[in-house]
């Protein structure tokens, strides 16, 4: 099969895609794009869609409603883009479009031509009429390769991806020799985006060289890091780019079988990928004789059952084989002996999704983005205490400060930045002095964090670093598969020690214990889980030792977070006579009326949930949180109160 024939095959599909796009354009009716990925749905996108449907049919307006994937702007969900060509305005992006706003938009914009400026986020194109979102820092500072089409196409309509040039990289790859593709990937310097950063090209070369037949290519979408949802969003928003990358990978290494391994906890992603595989097969872009060539690729989907350790490739392979997902010794590496004993190449979602662009534009082009040692882009889900949380794709080498303060809008509520957690349970917390660190594999590792799978949690002054370390150890301790003694027992011992510290029972020698035990676990564990599990503790010890000291020596939590070390009380000077707001919100009826119809908190009953602090009207601001708890003044419950409370009970 020569290059011309393959290109002709794709060209006919492409013509069909363009024809469909052209037809839609000629119709000239408004199109309403609604972001319907998991984040959007959680914010009520389904109700929004329903409201649009009802409103347009009620008013007899012809409009097309298209569900699209995630744009990455989770803070503004539900997001809607309305393209109303007849109005003369460019396509406009609207934020927080509730069902009510949807009805207003149909009436005002689609019917009367008024684009309702107060709901507008920005125009999707640059014009003189409405400021464009492209000029916002969020869009301007981003560099999208992996997420280029996310949120702009209907993930269930393969033609929309093809109309934007999709699958042409696969056609180009099929027309070249596999060795040439591998060479191009090596030249690009692409490193595995699963976290460890192993050069993708080298992995492929090893897999290509393996002599055993029946090779298998696996896409690792078992995103287990609690705080990352990058892979899920890509799967839900543009599954075809991933499948195209997977097919390129399989062709290059000589595999005829491919498996997409997706977490079962991502039901929408599972369904989207399944549909995408079917529609790609129908167009002969996957399956037998792809684009008329002799290359066959059977693609299936496997649902991961939720074990963090299965992100490790040997454990992932074990779980597909129907066994407990426990990591295996390497070598032999999966590229030599993997699933069912066959050579297996495992790549992350973001790695595979980067491939089409690299194959098409070349390794040199890819190297123009990012840094010398880490070319390309990084995708992060930035969450926590930032103004504009969401999914961000930036060029490698961008500083943490730019990402957190410029792209994501900085810390809300006039609070101060304290730390950023990168890499989830395998990563670490970096303090303010690391904000100018460039984001790339090596700089982050040097600082003690890790690229990981793209989870980034920003924390303000209210976060307790000891508590955060305890949280991650609680997670890794539960997720340890139990194979290595140091990981199995060591993490549990680390957790007990941290528990003790956060409860105010820390001992002087605990800091040293955490340090030495942490190092031992790193050395004594087989896989990435154990090797990195102590990182959250070790980095917080390195950068926030004073917080550990306050917990251990003064039995005080400086961030007022650890509940055993704090108390709430009501300042009688500030408390308003007769106000009952806190009484109503207390879930355990710990608040009583004391002298002068003011309120007090029964420390014995209080569960320290903090509801009263939130509920107390701002003009009184009478609820105070202190640490250590002994600082709270004792307010006795008046005897008659006690009696009546007892009587009610």
């Amino acid at each position: 099969m020569n290059k011309k024939e393959i290109e002709a095959r794709l060209a006919s599909i492409h013509r069909e895609a363009e024809g469909r796009a052209e037809h839609r354009k000629r119709e000239g009716i408004p199109t309403i794009y609604i972001v319907m990925s998991t984040c959007g749905l959680a914010s009520g996108a389904a109700e929004t869609k329903h409201a649009f449907e009802e409103a347009v049919s009620h008013k007899g307006i012809r409009a097309r409603i298209v569900p699209v994937g995630c744009l990455g702007h989770c803070y503004a969900e539900p997001l809607v883009v309305i393209d109303n060509p007849a109005s003369g305005f460019p396509p406009i992006c609207y934020h927080h479009v509730s069902a009510g706003r949807a009805r207003v938009l149909v009436g005002s914009y689609l019917e009367e031509g008024d684009p309702v400026f107060e709901y507008v986020l920005g125009a999707m194109e640059r014009t003189d009429l409405i400021p464009s979102v492209m000029d916002f820092p969020r869009f301007r500072l981003e560099r999208r390769v992996v997420m280029e089409h996310c949120g702009r196409i209907d993930p269930d309509d393969i033609y929309q991806y093809i109309a934007r040039g999709g699958y042409s990289a696969l056609a180009g790859a099929l027309a070249s020799e596999p060795a040439e593709i591998i060479h191009r990937i090596e030249a690009s310097g692409l490193r595995g985006r699963g976290g460890a950063g192993f050069p993708t090209g080298r992995k492929w070369r090893l897999a290509r060289a393996a002599v055993t037949g029946g090779k298998i290519a696996i896409c690792n979408a078992d995103e287990g890091d609690p705080g990352a949802y990058v892979d899920r969003t890509i799967l839900e928003s543009n599954p075809h780019q991933l499948l195209e990358g997977l097919a390129i990978c399989a062709y290059a290494v000589g595999a005829n079988q491919a498996i997409v391994y997706v977490r079962a906890e991502y039901p929408l992603a599972v369904q989207t990928v399944k549909r995408a595989i079917t529609s790609a097969k129908e167009l002969s872009l996957l399956g037998f004789g792809i684009l008329g060539t002799s290359f066959d690729l059977e693609v299936s989907l496997f649902q991961g059952s939720g074990a963090f350790v299965c992100g490790e490739e040997t454990a992932l392979i074990r779980s597909i084989e129907g066994r407990r997902g426990m990591p295996q010794h390497r070598p032999p590496y999966p590229v030599e002996k993997g699933l069912w004993g066959r050579p297996t190449v495992v790549n992350n979602v973001k790695t595979l999704s980067s491939l089409p662009a690299i194959v098409e534009k070349g390794g040199e082009w890819f190297r123009t983005i990012g840094t010398e040692s880490s070319p390309g882009t990084a995708v992060f889900s930035v969450v926590g205490n930032v103004r504009h949380p969401g999914l961000v794709e930036i060029a490698m080498g961008t500083s943490l400060r730019t990402l957190i303060f410029d792209v994501c809008g900085g810390i809300p509520n006039n609070k101060a930045f304290k730390a950023v957690q990168i890499g989830g349970p395998s990563g670490g917390c970096l303090p303010e002095r690391f904000l100018d660190t460039p984001i790339d594999f090596d700089s982050l590792r040097q600082a003690g964090a890790m690229m990981g799978s793209g989870g980034m949690v920003v924390m303000d002054e209210d976060a307790c670093m000891v508590d955060v370390a305890r949280y991650f150890l609680d997670f890794t301790q539960k997720e340890s598969c139990g194979k290595c003694t140091f990981c199995r027992i060591g993490t549990s011992h680390l957790l007990n020690t941290l528990d003790r510290i956060t409860k105010g029972n820390g001992r002087e020698e605990d800091v040293e214990l955490l340090e030495t035990l942490g190092e031992d676990i790193k050395n004594g564990s087989l896989c990435g889980l154990g090797k990195t599990a102590p990182n959250p503790v070790l980095t917080s010890l390195r950068y926030f030792l004073d917080e550990y000291a306050a917990h251990i020596k003064e039995k005080r939590c400086p961030a007022l977070k650890c509940r055993s070390l704090i108390a709430y009380y009501i300042d009688l000077e500030k408390c308003a006579r007769g106000c009952e707001v806190c009484v109503g919100c207390c879930p355990v009826e710990a608040i009583f009326t004391t002298k002068g119809r003011k309120k007090g908190i029964d420390q014995k009953l209080c569960v320290k949930c903090g509801e009263c602090l939130v509920a107390c009207p701002r003009e009184y601001d009478a609820v105070v949180r202190v640490s250590p708890p002994e600082l709270a003044p004792v307010i006795e419950r008046p005897p008659d109160e006690e009696k009546s409370a007892g009587g009610e009970g």
């Binding site: 998991t38 984040c39 749905l41 959680a42 914010s43 989770c74 803070y75 969900e77 995103e223 287990g224 890091d225 609690p226 705080g227 990352a228 949802y229 899920r232 079962a264 906890e265 991502y266 496997f302 649902q303 059952s305 939720g306 074990a307 963090f308 779980s319 597909i320 084989e321 129907g322 066994r323 407990r324 997902g325 069912w340 889900s381 969450v383 926590g384 205490n385 949380p389 969401g390 957690q421 989830g424 989870g455 949690v457 924390m459 976060a463 955060v468 949280y471 991650f472 997670f475 598969c481 919100c585 879930p587 355990v588 569960v607 949930c609 903090g610 509801e611 939130v614 509920a615």
Partner: protein, 184 residues
């Protein structure tokens, strides 16, 4: 191995029958173990002992091996869940935003602990690690709907809503019944 079908209550009996009908669709190879367990849980919302024994027989492995694999993964449940399933997210972002307090509120309100079901099998509560809606933290999942930006006081509201809904249904049922009687 004893006969798993013996001494089962009607509910479990129906489950066993259903599983017996679906198993032949799967080839009896080890690689199908997890997909089969997922399919059973999808249909019956948990894996009973009898179910796991049937799977073992189908694949020609010991029930112990099936149990060993099933308990390794977080997805599988071994007790029937409540009619309404409450999952409280305790991912990193939710933890920092106070997810534990949300979980405690559900536990206190229902009088059960994480992983348990109320005696009337109406509600079950469990903690999950990240549902991937971190930008909306803290998050809880109620049946299939994700509730973002949870607050302890919202927990109360959820149960009030359930109660109102139940009362409405009862009223409608009563009205229907009395209507039918009048019609007669």
């Amino acid at each position: 191995m004893g006969n798993p079908e013996s001494q089962l209550n009607p509910e479990e009996g129906a489950m066993v029958e259903d599983i017996a009908a679906m198993l032949p669709a799967y080839e009896g190879r080890r690689g199908n173990l997890i997909p089969i367990l997922q399919a059973i849980q999808e249909r019956h919302s948990y894996l009973s002992g009898a179910a796991m024994k049937m799977v073992a027989r189908h694949l020609g492995i010991t029930p112990g091996e099936v149990y060993g694999v099933a308990t390794f993964y977080n997805q599988f449940r071994f007790q029937p869940p409540g009619r309404h399933q409450i999952k409280v997210c305790l991912g990193t972002a939710c933890h920092v935003a106070g997810g534990e307090i949300i979980l405690e509120n559900f536990e206190r309100k229902l009088g059960i602990k994480d992983g348990e079901t109320t005696p009337d099998r109406e509600y079950s509560v469990e903690r999950v690690v990240c549902v991937g809606c971190c930008a909306l933290a803290p998050v809880a999942v109620l049946d299939d709907g994700v509730l973002g930006r949870m607050q302890p006081s919202k927990v109360e509201g959820i149960f009030v809503q359930f109660q109102v809904e139940r009362q409405r249904q009862e009223r409608e049922k009563a009205a229907r019944e009395s209507g039918e009687q009048e019609g007669d």
